[in-house]
């Protein structure tokens, strides 16, 4: 019940690591509390029954994402610090997808008793790293025991841009489809991890795609700039095809995508080649790239290209919104078949890499 400074608790004997079960839930919460920065004026943070966010004239965006050990990550593949950082970035990406700016997060963790307290510290070091990069703070959450697997559930709150939230739906026939950055690299990194290549690898290509998978970036600045120009926007967390499906699902619209225009970098191509795979599949179905996909009316296309020069984020036009339902994927004039089963589906498809 007392506030505990876990740094004092660490036993001096070599190798005698303190486990979560030795410490107790409340002490762990206090320790997490101490690792955090002070919350801004007007906020109520960790330690009360609920956190408090002061009035914002823009309203609040909120998103929640759960990661489960051996479903979304494996401890042999990712360090606690990388996981903490990635979990926050993945959530912040959802705020970027709405054209918003992240402000605060809450984290629930379910921790096996044999888990090391030091690993929790490292996890929250990663959380802080991601928060610091985006000027956001940890304001609350929950810490509970898990009988078996480590589970982390992150909630992020942010403010939308001046024109309000930019929705997934709203694209209109004639809109041009743009993506930021490069696609497929995260999946290439996952392929390496599943073939026992570990960070940091000696190969520069390997490093590049492992970095994309283990330490992705969220496109907050690009989202703020693209949002006011876009009819619709989303982040590419489940693969391009999956996001295009979501974007077109309710709108009575379709999209025509030029496969050869989809940006795939050399490292991703090299890894795909190394394992006899098609890099285009990584980009179409891979997931966890956290790039943005935006539908831009033709009259704003020049602005998009100018803005992206300003913020240094590459942006590529990959296709157009049409009034023909469905996704039409064309490569050098020929229509490709879309294999929906390759899309990211936790339950239906047994993809143990994800």
């Amino acid at each position: 019940m007392d506030i505990l400074d876990i740094r004092k608790l660490r036993r001096p004997e070599q190798g005698a690591k303190i486990k979560v079960k030795d410490v107790g839930e409340r002490s762990l919460i206090s320790a997490i509390h101490r690792l955090q920065a002070i919350v801004p004026m007007g906020y109520v943070g960790i330690g009360d029954d609920a956190a408090y966010l002061p009035p914002s004239s823009a309203g609040w965006l909120i998103s929640q994402d759960m990661l489960v050990e051996d479903v979304h990550f494996r401890w042999e593949w990712i360090t606690p610090e990388q996981l903490g950082e990635k979990a926050v970035i993945a959530n912040i990406s959802d705020i970027a997808a709405m054209g918003g700016i992240p402000k605060a997060i809450l984290t629930s963790i379910a921790v096996p008793g044999c888990f090391e307290v030091e690993a929790i510290e490292q996890l929250y070091r990663g959380v802080s790293k991601a928060l610091d990069r985006h000027g956001a703070v940890l304001i609350g959450g929950d810490t509970v025991s898990s009988p078996d697997k480590f589970t982390l559930d992150v909630v992020v709150l942010g403010n939308p841009g001046s024109r309000g939230p930019v929705l997934l739906t709203g694209a209109k026939p004639g809109d041009r489809l743009f993506v930021t950055g490069r696609l497929g690299a995260s999946y290439a990194g996952l392929i390496l991890l599943s073939h026992n290549v570990r960070w940091p690898s000696t190969s520069l290509y390997h490093r590049s795609v492992l970095q994309a998978h283990l330490a992705p970036m969220a496109r907050v600045e690009a989202g703020v700039k693209l949002g006011p120009l876009a009819h619709a926007m989303t982040d590419i967390s489940d693969g391009l095809i999956s996001e295009l499906n979501a974007m077109t699902r309710f709108g009575g619209i379709g999209v025509k995508i030029a496969a050869e225009k989809i940006p795939v970098d050399d490292a991703t191509k090299a890894v795909a080649h190394e394992y006899g795979k098609d890099a285009l599949d990584f980009a179409l179905y891979g997931g966890e790239d956290y790039e943005l996909l935006a539908a831009i009316p033709p009259s704003r296309v020049q602005e998009v290209e100018r803005l992206c020069l300003v913020c240094g984020v590459p942006v590529t036009e990959i296709g157009v919104v049409t009034d023909t339902l469905g996704i039409h994927l064309v490569k050098n004039g020929e229509e490709l078949v879309i294999d929906e089963r390759k899309g990211f589906q936790h339950f239906a498809v047994d993809r143990d890499e994800s």
Copy 2:
């Protein structure tokens, strides 16, 4: 990817239950989506990258609570519908503890593949029941696969009352301590469940405490009324002693509690007697009562009693805030020893009943 109506999917053959792994994550999300009411004007709900809450001049309270199978609940003891309802009520209680009104929730669930789709429907029926009772809505969340245990993480958002959030800290020497309702009943229900008594039992006493454990209430109305009068307030989710500790921890204050005044109902006493336990221990250390504990300045005591008559919630004065640090528990003039180890601690104490 298509929207799925899980009611159509249920196979007509007797006993052929559909499992989550047969359906896929996106279909499950769509099904959950369909079970929900339409969100209020100005909100963005399930289906986009993030939900959106419009500006509120009062700001937003937010709380998060994670429940893990075999740590916080057992499927032999609670139905999916009861669990869904209880999880939401437990979170809404945190909003009540701040004197606030719940408005929206998000839910993350990690579901084993062999889980029945029908059980998910039932869980969300319970969620809806709790939401409808308090006029709140489901606006988002996450649905993922779990290799083993079912995990549910609920986030609730609400607006504070007109005087802002009522904090856990802020009690002053001389304040009177009030609790709503009765304490210890939930723990008595847990004792029954751990002794293979199941809902509905034939005994009225059993029914009463099982109800307290499986289908607790959140004191939202009482919180709204007590909040503006209180120097400090919290809900009793981890047992009275634990909450008193939290309330006094940072304030340089203590409390003197009259043990004989702590409200314990006849059903709780009967169950304690049946199992050779002390009902007072249930009230002090039991947890999950979701009653409110408020520190009220002496000048407002009469108002508290009048208000609680109006809203029909019993309120009992159990002690006073002092300038002597610590919790002093007195029974008929003699000081009782407080056994902190009995308090609710997931990791340190292996309480398999909780």
